[in-house]
Symmetry: C2
Subunit: 423 residues, 2 copies
């Protein structure tokens, strides 16, 4: 029987879930895994949340140093998020020779590589299963089995807030009312900016790139687009095209080239991610021997995420050698401007006669082949008429230029959008 | 660096894949996992397959005792299937104090419990990741993380052959031509009996019951139905009902009651298994903290399955204590006769006037509420007219009685079918 003494820093949603599961399942964890997890101390800004959980005062501190420096504690669980204080806590934890477990994707995205090197040198565990995909057994499963094979790509619906909003919009809701419903149900934060603008997904893409490709990207070099510009009309037209729009975090290798991106994409029916709705997350991983593997489940929430943290705590019992992040590969990170796809483009045209000829002439100028033009006649009496054009395989940068030229022409209002098809 | 010396018994599809992956990825496995896997000896009935793989004669034997008794070998990998010789090999392997890794679901379904007890006592690994779900990281992931939570149910599409046939039939193919296409593509065996009749799925259900519920069922007490009786018409009508028919292996707990079954089911669009097509497998696991988790991928095939075997070999490096099968729970195994569902019932009616009144009167007699009656008028000039009746929630045994009474009446030809809806 191994005993693991932990300190928890941060008693928000995940911290509360962790506290609850450890307390209620201590004996079953002991029985199943031969490990006893003891909570030695918890830290939060004030005693309020700890009081709610009936945590005794002597177990509580508002000074994280009392956890990272406590010689009785083997492992620090950081659940405060962010990359400033959390980074200091991570550094100090390793300095004081303790294992470090976190659910913090931003921290691992930005500093995972450095922290991992320090941890490995000191024979300490750095674990972060909960940072991507919430309760879905994902990162450890990549580390311990899928990585045996050569991973070629991953495609993920990695943000439950965005997926929930897009699901509601596909059923006819407007963006804002979908967002407030997500907030009401607790699937979206009070300030959902980092979810909506794609940055949460981008952090997860960075963590996945580390796990799948052994590559630690600079997040600034990744193309990141959120779902803010998506209109209900886009989901209607997507349906007409037998597609769904999903926010996809993606990584793909071709020889020495690596592409990483976060943006809305049009998925066809045969895509395993097509049916992933509401607050669910899913990741599709393609590798040489295994072919496509998909993992699906709740990507957030108190108990799923806390359960993933416990998975890491239990793994503290195992050999460390194969668990460390292995950043070694040098890839050439491609710029999205050079990528090619079929595209969905939606303009809001200021209703003037002859606009279609003018717009399509731009396509001709940029040598972009049009596949389909879709106008909804029943809304053609609006001042702004939505016009959708789908293209044959085209270069991102050319379409981008075309779009800004059309904008400048005054033919369209500003909210045009281009969405690639995922094939 | 740990060295693991293995002997492989059986050079069929998986054996070949294992040999190929170990040879081609030896150094990357060494680097990633700090383990060196050495093949000391391989065994097959004759040298033919070994010769094809360019295995030197001195590495080859046709006597498995030369592997299980070889003191240089740490771990025996059994890939011959079946429960007779394979069982002897398993027993002897443990007797000679070697770890045992297998892809053999029948063996684990029938003898996993006993073998596991012996292995645990001797501090040896018994591992069988490849036995369910092929290359999908499944059993180890249940053992090492999902099991932290209280698992409430699993639903799986666990046989690629059946799923491939049903997918083709949904596109309009007849059973026999779908089967021969599956055979041509290597998704179905020359003798597909155990796939088609549901027994392969049943073995996997037994293994899953052991992992998820700590319960080792007697396979004879499980309701097992295959896909033989399914007609193309059923898939057509299912489509009209916005459903798909899939062969589902299922386990579900309610208090102290456990139900286990293998049978075709009607899935609705919002079921995550709905979109699992062709040769793909998928398992949906519902647990207390995590909610529904789905895992999806190739459930068979040379490289996916061999890759799962390698996962086990790499895990030999880890602590054994938490890895053993834990059979302890006593459940009351329910009889399917007592289960209740909405049902799809299809009769082939011998075309006589008034048949519908006669059939529906039987429903009245058994107090089974009809939801919908579907007849396809365009095929009503056939001698056997397909009639589909869907029911409200009804007891399995009552419907079963009703069906045999209708048969006896001479109103229908024999191939009636009842398929529960999964909701």
């Amino acid at each position: 029987m191994r005993k693991i003494n932990i300190g928890i820093i941060g008693l928000g949603t995940i911290g509360e879930g962790l506290f609850r599961i450890i307390n209620s399942q201590k004996s079953s964890i002991r029985k199943k895994f031969n490990i006893e997890i003891n909570i030695i101390k918890v830290c939060d800004l004030d005693y309020k949340l700890a009081k709610k959980l009936k945590i005794e005062k002597k177990l509580f501190t508002n000074n994280y140093n009392q956890i990272v420096e406590d010689p009785k504690i083997d492992c620090v669980v950081e659940l405060i998020g962010g990359t400033t204080i959390a980074k200091t806590i991570a550094d100090k934890t390793l300095k004081f020779n303790k294992h470090f477990v976190t659910a913090n994707k931003a921290l691992i995205a930005m500093h995972g590589n450095t922290l991992s090197r320090v941890a490995t040198k000191k024979n300490l565990h750095l674990m972060y299963e909960a940072s991507v995909g919430g309760g879905i057994p994902l990162l450890n499963s990549i580390k311990e089995s899928i990585i045996i094979n050569e991973i070629k790509s991953f495609h993920g619906i990695l943000n439950g807030t965005c997926n929930y909003i897009l699901s509601l919009m596909a059923e006819g809701k407007e963006f804002n009312s979908a967002l407030s419903e997500a907030q009401k149900l607790g699937f979206a934060e009070a300030d959902p900016t980092l979810d909506i603008n794609g940055y949460d997904t981008a952090h997860k893409v960075c963590v996945m790139a580390q796990e799948c490709f052994g590559y630690s990207p600079n997040i600034k070099k990744i193309h990141i687009e959120g779902i803010e510009k998506i209109n209900k009309i886009d989901l209607d037209v997507a349906k007409e095209l037998n597609c769904k729009i999903k926010l996809i975090g993606k990584g793909k290798i071709k020889g020495k080239d690596l592409s990483l991106s976060v943006n809305p994409m049009l998925l066809k029916k045969d895509n395993p991610l097509f049916n992933v709705e509401n607050e669910f997350n899913a990741v599709l991983i393609d590798s040489k021997n295994l072919g496509p593997i998909m993992k699906y489940g709740y990507g957030a929430g108190m108990l799923p995420t806390a359960s993933a943290v416990i998975t890491d705590l239990i793994r503290l019992n195992t050999d460390i050698s194969s668990k460390a992040m292995q950043i070694s590969k040098k890839y050439n990170l491609l710029n999205i401007n050079d990528s090619k796809s079929r595209f969905y483009i939606r303009f809001f045209v200021v209703n003037k006669s002859g606009y279609l000829a003018k717009i399509t002439s731009k396509f001709a100028k940029y040598k972009i082949n049009i596949e389909k033009i879709i106008q909804n006649p029943h809304i053609a009496n609006l001042k702004k008429v939505p016009v959708v054009i789908t293209t044959k395989k085209s270069k991102f940068s050319e379409l981008d230029k075309l779009l800004s030229e059309v904008h400048k022409s005054g033919l369209t209002s500003k909210e045009s959008i281009m969405i690639p098809f995922e094939e």
